[in-house]
């Protein structure tokens, strides 16, 4: 029976990405203090990726990791010192592998990015230092690889990897490993590595039992069966695996071949064209120009073209072969058939690929790893719930008023259980923020060397948990803040020394829970932000008026406004003035906020406050006619009775309200949602000023009701997406209430206003 391996792909990708993260982290650790355990961890990660990719037939990944592994193995054995170059190379490989896996996941070709890294590895392994790790052009690559490939062609040989784990009684049966190994040694060069981990303490050791196991590497030109023969007598008394492995140097040959393959059908067809033409020359057989051009067409893109052209080649080679030597015939035919096969396969696979891609998009869902303790808690709680439920139903069967107290306590127990259950389910979605923090050390490392600054990244509170969705979206803003801290926050080494600070700057990441929020702090001990500079710059940019009174926090907040950048030089890293506003917007979108605190000369701290989860919202219930809506509590700035409000009209029909110095458009929700009738006409109504993404709007509503936490249900999945509504929730009385999306409402209002204006015009 054939097993469909593709069902395991997702797991493989997840594990591999995890493995790559581990490798990256350990590589960074390795740089700080080189420990054998680190190398082992990296090796294991690489090894499992290699194993997995080979299983699933992702040959490029398997080959690449194999070369990596060879180098890591040398490091593990201590025969290769850990240098910065090697770590750089390995880090690049991690990036490259990540890219390759991403491409495979999207069903795209993996490209050739890894080939040059393989070359670098091979250079290293063959004992040459990498002078230039970045090989830029394909031509250079070819030049570099060719001589090596040529060297290794001659002593192309395999070696055998033998794993021999005998059972403990093997020695008593008179089978002696020394003798068996000696026999192997007679065949070639034998290297044995013994595993002594199973040997018990001397006191417990039974001298006649064998607790050793071996990994042998036999460098010999032998057949599998010959080796097997050596172990003939112990076959049933041991675990034995004999693998044919290839020498890393030999691998280069393969790599070279792959490279050619990788260049795809174009190269292949070029070869065929060449062959055909040269054959023609040799034998002076006259063939039609049309056929040759047909062959040349092979280089074209469409697969149908390829089909035609390969046929053309076949016909040429057929014609030629009659008169040419057998060798030439074989050669050209083989090439032609190969091309044909590949192009046929391609036609088929494109169609299948399309289909697969579509399927994949529909089925690929994110998964989450949950600690078993969390699941256990859930099961416990469900157990409790079932008990309470059976108790209540028993009460209900023969209920008398005398049992009222019992009923009340039963119901409160039910409530308690439900709440706990809800909390535990929410906790399942919670992951430690370390997942996000962990990708930062790498960036800091690369960036600090790019900027020439010495930077220490301190991470605290990485076990603080937050919702998976929030975490996915906080990654980019956080990365940006750290980049900023490195580029702008920390001074250059000279400046730091001049200011009497330690040479090495520190960027600290901290996360902790506070109330119902998670707080993430990004702080640096750099130069701090000078409010005066910001103020002047803002005036210059026309963001504020000269002489406007602003408190320090407000001034600092300006750097989060769109189009603001104080960096004297726009660098590669930051300073283009996009970024901080994006950071702020992203965080606001998550229902969070950013605060800046800065002391000149001492450093800057960005404090991000985020809700623990996006699934529950602190809501303000509002009433419009008979309908109840929910507004996110954070978005409300103030509410004013309509009677106290002066409403002006601009641009025809647009009603606005003057709040401090700005005009806020008024949206009448009754109009907006076309609510016909209902009570509340007698009430005077309120104006709720709300803000989303720095845009303020005023909502005309009838009444403010209570505040409560609401569980957000997606409207998309149950109905369809509506602009201005972010979701729905079920209220205590069972009614469905829509949750308003301020930004969407503002956009809706703007569109309608435009329409109206056009009509007027």
């Amino acid at each position: 029976m054939e097993i469909d391996l593709s069902q395991f792909h997702q797991v493989f990708f997840e594990e591999s990405f995890e493995g790559l993260d581990v490798m990256e982290q350990e590589l960074l650790n390795l740089e700080e203090d080189s420990d054998l355990e680190n190398v082992n961890t990296i090796f294991r990660a690489a090894h499992s990726i290699k194993g997995g990719s080979a299983t699933f037939n992702f040959k490029d990944v398997a080959d690449f990791t194999h070369v990596m592994e060879t180098l890591l193995d040398e490091m593990r054995e201590g025969s290769r010192p850990v240098t910065r170059e090697i770590i750089d190379l390995l880090l690049k490989s991690v990036d490259c592998l990540r890219g390759m896996l991403n491409k495979i996941q999207d069903d795209e070709p993996v490209g050739e990015a890894h080939c040059e890294l393989i070359n670098s590895f091979n250079l290293l392994l063959s004992g040459e230092a990498i002078v230039e790790t970045e090989v830029n052009t394909a031509a250079e690559q070819a030049v570099e690889t060719q001589p090596i490939a040529a060297d290794t062609t001659e002593d192309l040989h395999h070696y055998w990897n033998i794993q021999f784990i005998p059972q403990s009684h093997i020695l008593e049966t008179g089978n002696e490993p020394v003798r068996m190994f000696r026999e192997l040694k007679g065949m070639g060069v034998l290297e044995s590595t013994v595993d002594v981990s199973k040997v018990p303490d001397f006191d417990e050791l039974v001298p006649e039992s064998c607790f050793l196991s071996w990994r042998l590497r036999l460098d010999a030109d032998t057949e599998y069966d010959t080796i097997k023969e050596v172990f003939e007598w112990v076959e049933d008394e041991c675990e034995l695996t004999i693998d044919n492995a290839e020498e890393p140097e030999v691998k280069k040959q393969d790599v070279k071949k792959q490279e050619v393959e990788k260049q795809g059908p174009i190269t292949e067809s070029e070869i065929s064209v060449d062959t055909v033409i040269s054959d023609k020359e040799v034998t002076a057989v006259e063939t039609d120009d049309i056929e040759v051009s047909g062959a040349e067409k092979t280089t074209g893109d469409s697969s149908s073209d390829k089909m035609e052209s390969t046929n053309a080649i076949v016909s040429i080679s057929g014609a030629v072969s009659n008169k040419t030597s057998d060798v030439a015939k074989e050669k050209s035919q083989k090439l032609a058939t190969e091309t044909q096969n590949s192009s046929q396969a391609k036609v088929k696979s494109t169609a299948v690929n399309e289909e697969k891609k579509n399927q994949k998009k529909a089925t690929s869902t994110a998964s989450i790893r949950v600690g078993i303790d969390k699941v256990d808690t859930l099961i416990d709680l469900v157990g409790e719930l079932v008990i309470t439920q059976s108790m209540l139903s028993e009460l209900g069967d023969n209920f008398t008023m005398a049992k009222l107290n019992q009923l009340v306590s039963g119901l409160s127990e039910l409530e308690q259980n439900t709440r706990e259950l809800q909390e535990s389910v929410m906790r399942i979605r919670m992951l430690p923020i370390g997942f996000v923090f962990n990708r930062l050390p790498r960036m800091v490392r690369d960036l600090s060397s790019q900027l020439g600054k010495k930077v220490h990244l301190a991470i605290k509170g990485e076990s603080t948990e937050l919702d998976k969705t929030v975490m996915e979206q906080i990654g980019d803003p956080l990365t940006h803040l750290v980049r900023n801290a490195l580029d702008h926050g920390l001074e250059s080494t000279e400046q730091r020394i001049a200011a009497g600070k330690s040479e090495e700057g520190t960027v600290t990441l901290n996360a902790f829970h506070q109330g119902g929020n998670i707080v993430i702090e990004v702080s640096d001990n750099g130069g701090g932000i000078d409010p005066d500079v910001i103020y002047d710059k803002a005036v210059e940019k026309g963001m504020i008026q000269q002489g406007e009174e602003l408190v320090k926090e407000q001034i600092l907040g300006l750097i989060m406004e769109p189009g603001f950048s104080t960096a004297a030089v726009v660098s590669d890293v930051s300073g283009r003035g996009v970024g901080m506003d994006v950071v702020k917007r992203n965080i606001n979108n998550l229902g969070g906020s950013v605060e800046i605190e800065s002391n000149l000369g001492k450093g800057t701290t960005f404090t991000i406050r985020l809700p623990l989860t996006l699934a529950i919202l602190d809501g303000q219930l509002i009433r419009v006619a008979n309908e109840v809506y929910v507004l996110p509590l954070v978005s409300i700035i103030e509410s004013i009775p309509l009677s106290m409000v002066e409403i002006s009209k601009i641009a025809g029909d647009m009603k606005v309200y003057k709040l401090h110095n700005e005009y806020v458009p008024i949206i009448d929700l009754r109009e907006e949602f076309v609510i016909q009738r209902g009570g509340g006409a007698n009430s005077e109504g309120l104006l709720a000023i709300v803000e989303g993404e720095n845009r303020k709007i005023a909502l005309k509503i009838d009444d403010l009701m209570g505040q409560q936490q609401v569980v957000i249900k997606s409207l998309d999945s149950h109905y369809k997406s509506i602009q201005g509504v972010s979701g729905a929730t079920i209220l205590g009385d069972g009614r469905v209430s829509l949750i308003l999306d301020i930004v969407g409402l503002a956009k809706r209002a703007a569109i309608r206003a435009n329409h109206r204006r056009e009509k007027v015009a």
């Binding site: 002696e176 013994v194 040997v199």
Partner: protein, 100 residues
């Protein structure tokens, strides 16, 4: 020079002699002083014998006592090499240093 005790491994370091050797090694361990293994006459060596010595060296070292080889024979070195136990038995060191 501190005290040390000597254990002679005789001519055969093999499974047949392993048990009796073990009891001699136990006696050496109880003295809680450095041990010298006289092994110049060793001719027959097998896995059981080397495994026993390995466990012994490990044990002695955890007790804080060193174990030295005295003139390890070629047979001994060859067998340990074949089994990949050379460094575990500190025999490569012994040979390089030509330990007395």
């Amino acid at each position: 020079m501190s005290k040390k005790t000597t254990v002679s491994l005789g001519t055969a370091l093999d499974i047949a002699h392993a048990s009796s050797l073990k009891s001699r090694l136990v006696t050496a361990l109880t003295k809680n002083i450095p041990v010298q293994l006289t092994s110049d006459k060793v001719e027959r060596v097998d896995t059981a014998g080397l495994q026993l010595i390995f466990a012994f060296i490990k044990k002695a070292e955890t007790q804080g006592n060193s174990v030295h080889w005295y003139k390890p024979s070629d047979a001994l070195i060859n067998a340990s090499e074949i089994l990949g136990l050379q460094s575990e038995l500190k025999l490569n060191q012994a040979r390089r240093e030509g330990v007395v």
